[in-house]
Subunit: 450 residues, 2 copies
């Protein structure tokens, strides 16, 4: 999308200045995920301490290949008066309490961190001792998730999956109008790297229509490439959030892998939707990239040519100008055999969040349109963000055409769905003219036997 004008430029401020460099050297490396223009927040514990007595989680900022420990930074470094109350919940390890302070607080902290981490800052000498190599930080979920909702905003995904079942009418009539979504399972969302293959009821065509279903490990385990949107401001029950206010509910973005058992889903999902096919695990990347950091990568949303305009309650001037996110998304696979032979991971697909049919603000407004209350720390998944081309599918279900066309990997292995030992890694980054590249980091999971 590099030929687009950067329509969101007015959203940017001094923290986005591409000339800005950090005294943390690794933040200035070309293609660093976490340059000083990014500054994502996350929770961690220092590794290597006594695991029997785990320390409370701390909040940190990713900068280059280092983590700035905000508990240490709050006391070791002088800060402007208005920053102290913002650092208080962060020093206590409570990222949700900081999120609840709202966008002015988020902006103030970002400006303060940017100034403190910038080359030449007189806070630098105080903060050097508050850095921890990223490899020594054991990451955790950014906060307790109240509710997790998963949407279906990836129209290419919806079309391809729909075509597997209904070749003549891939998209159902409501898809053009409703940001389709469903309630997900919050308790099984984690950043944990191991994914145990789920057991469940399945029925194959072989077993006939009348026979008992099979109970056993899923044979069609899959990943789904999504973004996770983190809610930073609540609305009361019964009070919908209009589009004009929806952006201010959005704190930040992570990657999200909506691990799915396709065979369990096919048998269980009628009439109430996916349940055990999804709730065995969902994983997110641990660093929450703020909407402030994403300012240079906001774009006007482009409705697909065959889709009607959004209904009025899902429109706003801001959304029309800046609602969409230009984030390049990738899926990488390393099989057990590749790992054994020392072969690097293979990129399975690349797509872009601009291909989502609905913007983050539209998801918030639709979600609350019935009065449903979103709470600080709630997580919204976008749905699988596939691109328009067959090789841009954000799941194996798409790439293998429902398992009918297995992928042949360069080393000769074949994949219709995931095998035990497969490691799936999602990656995402943003590039735009006149802006420094930032990235969301990664979320990885390795499939364990049932």
């Amino acid at each position: 999308m590099s030929d687009l004008q950067p329509a969101a430029q007015p959203l940017c401020d001094a923290t986005h200045d591409p000339a800005l460099r950090s005294w943390v050297a690794s933040a200035n490396w070309p293609d660093a995920d976490f340059p000083i223009q990014n500054l994502p927040l996350g929770r961690f514990r220092p590794v290597g301490r006594d695991p029997a007595q785990p320390e409370p989680l701390r909040v940190g900022v990713a900068i280059g290949d280092q983590v700035l420990d905000l508990k240490a930074a709050a006391t070791m470094c002088p800060w402007a008066d208005e920053v102290h109350p913002l650092l208080e919940p962060l020093a206590a390890g409570d990222l949700a309490a900081f999120m609840a302070l709202g966008r002015p607080a988020w902006r103030t902290l970002r400006a303060a961190l940017s100034a403190a981490l910038a080359e030449g800052s007189d806070q630098g000498p105080f903060l050097e001792s508050c850095l921890l190599p990223m490899a020594e930080a054991q990451m955790a979920l950014p906060c307790r998730i109240g509710d997790y909702t998963d949407f279906y905003a990836g129209i290419h995904h919806a079309r391809t999956v729909g075509a597997l079942m209904r070749p003549d009418s891939p998209l159902l009539p409501n898809y053009a109008w409703v940001p389709i979504g469903y309630h997900g399972r919050a308790s099984s969302v984690g950043i944990e790297g191991r994914v145990k293959r789920p057991q469940g009821q399945t029925r194959s065509k072989d077993s006939g229509e009348g026979g008992a279903p099979h109970v056993g490990p899923s044979k069609r385990l899959d990943y789904e490439l999504e973004l996770g949107l983190w809610i930073g401001a609540a609305n009361a029950l019964g009070e919908p959030v209009a589009m004009a206010q929806a952006e201010d509910r959005l704190f930040g973005v992570t990657l999200l892998n909506d691990w799915s058992a396709r065979d369990i889903q096919a048998w269980e999902y009628q009439p109430l939707g996916p349940f055990l096919a999804k709730s065995f695990v969902t994983t997110v990347s641990p660093w929450v990239v703020s909407f402030e950091a994403l300012a240079p990568f906001r774009r006007p949303p482009v409705r697909p040519a065959d889709q009607p305009a959004a209904l009025p309650y899902l429109e706003s001037d801001f959304n029309a100008a800046h609602g969409a996110l230009d984030i390049t998304l990738e899926v990488w696979l390393q099989t057990a055999a590749m790992r054994t032979r020392g072969e690097p991971a293979l990129r399975l697909s690349q797509s872009n969040a601009l291909d989502a049919c609905w913007t983050p603000a539209q998801l918030v407004t639709h979600h609350t349109s019935n009065g449903c209350n979103l709470q600080v720390g709630d997580l919204l998944g976008t749905g699988t963000l596939s691109g328009p081309l067959p090789e841009q599918g954000g799941s194996l279900l798409e790439l293998s055409q429902g398992g009918r066309q297995p992928l042949t990997l360069p080393n000769g292995e074949q994949r219709s769905f995931l095998e035990d030992g497969d490691t799936v890694t999602l990656r995402a980054h943003c590039r735009a003219p006149g802006a420094v590249r930032i990235a969301l980091g990664t979320v990885s999971g390795t499939v364990l036997a049932a």
Copy 2:
């Protein structure tokens, strides 16, 4: 079901003795909801104090028309040594922390409360000052709900609703085998008595297939009569709970009204299930009746004659002997006109939880069969518990045959779905030979204009 042998009698102990009476006089009244054999727990605040400075919530026991305040009782009354650690979280107002202590603790507390509240107890004089009239207790949710799952275990409901859409095959093929369920919205579960009519997208047959949907207040607002099951013991992610252990995860039962907007649901629910049609509000009764209290009302589950036996992973000896709950369920309606004229509420339907197709333990085991982790304080809805007869439908959708046959009330009013000002009250009670009647109390909600 009074001609059934009370198969669960071996589960009973001295706390179920029908001869047991309380020194709290109202607990001995005939048909008291909360006799000494019940002893449900709930959270409350004394009403009438300064609302600007709300006190922390307290945990209480319902006894007759009184609430025993366990914060006061913990200090004002002598208790046996083994009871003190159990009273600690309760005195702190943390019912979930007590639930997390597990079934032996639940049994010990029940026995201690039963002895202390029994006629002639020498603890009586200490506890009298710890009583509060129920009318002076403002009730709250029993605990923070981590995740809320709603099942579809009411086969008569599933059949009637299915027949509205598919007269020839009301039940989908998976219904016979899978305890169908979906993830619900936890944030909007409450005991609040006011239900704001939700707005949403709907499409009527009149608007044609191609036109834009309508956005406005739901015209088909409905209730659903369900039980809520409260999880009292957690399982780790990736560790299914076998049937033999499933009962020990179940702390207690409340009523649950799964308020539903049928027109929003009909338009949005394909392919991922109900979403905004449900998430505007769900209400539960505030007193959690323990599985210990329900011991005299456990029955062998009876699979419907046209349904296959449950798969082996959903069977256990205990479940076959005692898995089902004999709870009579009722829906009552008072319209605004009835209220104005001083007419009492009207009973719309009566059914029994024995008609559920799956037992509480089966719901727990199925839910965790993929490794999904249940947590203390999670809530499972059973699904609408209708009876086999047309007049036993647990929703207006059933009673009015999808709105095609409006109900005519004795005062001449008609109802296909709920009107603004309607108050819906769910009630439930248990009777069995040789046992004292106990009840779950009520959950009421009045519909407010959108």
